[in-house]
């Protein structure tokens, strides 16, 4: 799973701890999500999306190669246009 968390955070000049404070999680968790070591749960993913005022699919999208799973590839194709729209806003 890929995400734009670092980019969006940097645009707001927030540190990882600032984001963690807003979501009531540890800074370690934000770091792990940003670096792709951890895919957040759906509730946390929705909280992150709400924090940045974006739809969840603009913040997270599957790896382009998927995991050898056809469903992922379909998801990636569907998500990319939304993501582009989100980046432009």
């Amino acid at each position: 799973m890929n995400n734009r968390l670092r980019e969006l955070r940097a645009a707001r000049r927030w540190s990882q701890a600032d984001v963690a404070d807003r979501l009531d999680v540890s800074r370690q968790t934000i770091n792990a999500v940003e670096t792709g070591r951890y895919d957040p749960s759906l509730p946390l993913a929705f909280k992150l999306a709400a924090l940045f005022g974006l739809p969840i699919e603009s913040l997270f999208w599957p790896d382009s190669d998927g995991d050898g799973d056809g469903a992922h590839d379909v998801g990636a194709a569907a998500v990319q246009p939304d993501r582009a729209a989100g980046a432009g806003s």
């Binding site: 927030w14 540190s15 701890a17 404070d21 999680v25 540890s26 800074r27 370690q28 770091n31 951890y38």
Partner: protein, 142 residues
């Protein structure tokens, strides 16, 4: 709630500090009481065969270990989702190593090579693997 923006990128979040405080409050009394009990027990060295109370006193450190474990479980519930996952993975690594060490001693016993110190090695192997994995995974996301 207004959340300030910090200049220090490596600072802990407010929830980190709140959890750390709660964990200290839960753990410290158990550790201090357990160490004090063990120290007094070692100094007095009561005869466990003399009466039932002395035997209970000898077993009392186990109660403090249980207290520490319960405080640890409360800390686990307090942790957020990523920290819980890291702790579970670390415990799994510790369990795996403990089982492997136990298996080694079992095979040695099957080969008629008798060793009398399996317990401490199983405990040490599990604890080192648990702590090592937890430290490694925590350092990666510092």
């Amino acid at each position: 709630m207004a959340v300030p923006v910090s200049d220090n990128p490596k600072r802990q979040s407010q929830s980190d500090r709140r959890r750390a405080r709660a964990n200290r409050r839960g753990m410290l009394p158990a550790i201090v009481a357990g160490v004090a009990d063990t120290a007094v027990l070692s100094a007095v060295n009561p005869d466990a065969h003399a009466n039932a109370w002395n035997l209970i006193w000898w077993l009392s450190p186990a109660a403090f270990v249980l207290w520490v474990m319960l405080a640890g479980a409360a800390g686990f519930r307090r942790a957020d989702e990523y920290q819980q996952r890291v702790q579970l993975e670390s415990m799994a690594a510790g369990f795996l190593v403990a089982m492997l060490v136990a298996l080694v001693f079992l095979l040695l016993a099957a080969a008629q090579i008798h060793t009398s110190t399996a317990g401490p090695w199983v405990f040490a192997g599990g604890a080192v693997a648990w702590g090592g994995t937890l430290t490694f995974k925590s350092l990666r996301t510092r």
